[in-house]
């Protein structure tokens, strides 16, 4: 990671991202409400599956409940499907003004997203998890290390997701219309990250393939497995190490794509 044009700029950008989302109060409440309703739906469904044999793919009922509610909370933090300005700015040519700034385009994108995630963590995460705590018997980790590891894992998930979405956005330099790529991303990230169902319910070879071959489990399954202490702290550390590895890979890839994309830049109407 070569860029370091001044940490202060990045912090300011993150702060701007935080404040921007803090102003959308209605949307925050509406979103948290929806996550909460989906939390109830998914929680009851997975619990009924776990009920038959007493566990679901190795998750005890309490862990299932935590998995669902923390997952619903993280959905807005690890922003899978958020609105993207960048493809539209590429299409209109406005991206030029982003590029003229003395801060790297990718650094701007990531810093802004971290700020947004910070706001989501304090609002969109807290509300569903609190409701889940009141309505169900959540598995609450007792080891303090787990909480630290969870926060690290969430930050890594946000960064990996952000870098992936950045690559998706960059394809607009070639395609101008990113809807098709976006659609592939939505499908892949939903199924492969453990959002629709915990990945261990799938056949083992497929689970291994997803962990080793794609960054998708790093988005949600990893922080959730950390917080339900699946496999203990040792396993949690392994998951976080895997996220770090994927972050490096995805960021590296994003750099390569960015270099190529900028060579193709055409300023519309200039």
């Amino acid at each position: 990671m070569r860029w370091s044009p001044g940490a202060r700029v990045l912090v300011a950008l993150a702060g701007a991202g935080f404040r921007r989302y803090a102003t959308y109060r209605q949307a925050t409440i509406a979103g948290a409400f929806t996550n909460t309703v989906f939390g109830f739906v998914r929680c009851y469904i997975l619990l009924s599956v776990a009920d038959v044999t007493g566990s679901l793919a190795g998750y005890a009922p309490g862990q299932v409940v935590t998995y669902v509610w923390v997952g619903q909370g993280l959905l807005a933090v690890v922003n899978y499907w958020g609105q993207q300005d960048l493809p539209e700015r590429v299409r209109s040519g406005e991206v030029v003004s982003d590029l003229l700034r003395p801060v790297d385009l990718m650094a701007q994108f990531l810093a802004n997203d971290v700020g947004r995630a910070g706001h989501a963590m304090l609002s969109r995460f807290v509300i569903p998890v609190t409701v889940g705590l009141l309505a169900f018997d959540l598995y609450v980790p007792t080891n303090p290390v787990t909480y630290v590891l969870f926060l690290v894992s969430v930050l890594l998930a946000v960064l990996v997701c952000s870098a992936c979405r950045y690559i998706v956005a960059l394809t607009s330099f070639w395609l101008l219309d990113v809807r098709g790529v976006q659609m592939v991303w939505v499908v892949a990230s939903g199924v492969g990250s453990g959002l629709y169902f915990p990945l261990p319910v799938l056949p083992e070879w497929l689970v291994v393939l997803l962990w080793v071959g794609t960054p998708l489990p790093s988005l949600l399954q990893a922080p959730l497995d950390v917080v339900v202490e699946r496999g203990g702290t040792g396993h949690g550390l392994l998951l976080v190490a895997g996220q770090v590895a994927w972050l490096l890979v995805v960021c590296g890839l994003a750099r390569v794509v960015q270099t190529r994309a900028l060579r193709r830049l055409v300023i519309q109407g200039g």
């Binding site: 959308y24 209605q26 949307a27 509406a30 979103g31 409400f33 929806t34 909460t36 309703v37 989906f38 109830f40 739906v41 998914r42 009851y44 469904i45 997975l46 009924s48 599956v49 038959v52 044999t53 679901l56 793919a57 309505a135 219309d177 809807r179 098709g180 659609m183 939505v186 499908v187 939903g190 199924v191 629709y196 169902f197 319910v201 799938l202």
Partner: protein
């Protein structure tokens, strides 16, 4: 009157199919996304070969009814979600001055033909479900087989309209209606025995989501509701659909009267 709507509709379809590649990508993408819902039910079902005390072919029937009902509603009035941007920008004024119903205009003006693929896909699932599940065929059941998905579609349409109407008071409410439209869609794909507590009482019986696929499916299968609702309730889907449409219509008109245009 009908002719005007028809022209609006045709114009909308023509304009959206101009960019063919984009249209095909959208159509395919929307269809793949719905298959994910069915895939999810199947993956969870496969864990113990049952869901909420029902066997696979019974669950498939519920999935089938929901898989037809929701996409029809989504195709017909799903774009009413765009109301938010009309209220925010004040564009809703333009609808009010025309001599057509505001709801009718909104629905035809943003008609999204890419959603048609899902209806077809849902029909395929439903036909397969009817063929393989142990339906106790009789004349009333045969009528219900046709009426149930249509009632479900009316019910979901009412939910779409009611959800969008909230935007007259609360502009950033987009995600709020998702809880009942897409959330409701997820609920109806499962037997209500899966859910529990206050949530089941409110969602399934209070708001009426049990009437979309669960109760009609029970009637087709000749089973009583294990939760304990009376047997005649299984045939009441058309009535609840009608009731929901009336309520949604009343709510919409109240919302329109409350509309104050945009600030500038």
């Amino acid at each position: 009157m009908v002719e005007v709507y028809w022209k609006l509709l045709v114009a909308q379809i023509r304009s959206q199919t101009q960019y063919r590649v984009s249209f095909v990508i959208d159509l395919v993408g929307a269809t793949v996304l719905t298959s994910l819902d069915i895939l999810t039910v199947w993956v969870l079902f496969a864990v113990n070969d049952s869901l909420g005390g029902f066997g696979g072919r019974e669950v498939l029937l519920m999935v089938g009814i929901a898989a037809v009902a929701f996409p029809i509603a989504d195709l017909a009035v799903g774009n009413v979600e765009k109301l938010q941007s009309y209220v925010r920008s004040g564009l809703f004024d333009a609808l009010l001055v025309r001599p057509l119903s505001t709801l009718g205009q909104l629905v035809t003006m943003d008609f999204a033909p890419r959603r048609a693929g899902r209806v077809l896909q849902g029909l395929v699932v439903y036909v397969i479900a009817l063929a393989v599940s142990p339906v106790e065929w009789s004349a009333p059941v045969a009528v219900l087989v046709v009426v149930a998905p249509l009632s479900g579609a009316v019910f979901f349409s009412a939910i779409f309209v009611a959800g969008a109407t909230v935007a007259f008071w609360w502009i950033d409410s987009g995600q709020l209606s998702n809880a009942f439209t897409y959330g409701g869609k997820d609920v109806t794909a499962y037997p209500m025995t899966v859910f529990g507590g206050l949530f089941r009482r409110i969602f399934a019986y209070g708001l009426g989501f049990a009437f979309v696929s669960y109760l009609p499916a029970l009637a087709m299968l000749g089973r009583s509701d294990p939760i304990g609702s009376p047997d005649w309730l299984r045939w009441c889907s058309p009535l609840t659909a009608l009731l929901s449409a009336v309520i949604a219509g009343w709510f919409w008109r109240t919302g329109v009267r409350h509309y104050r245009s945009s600030g500038s």
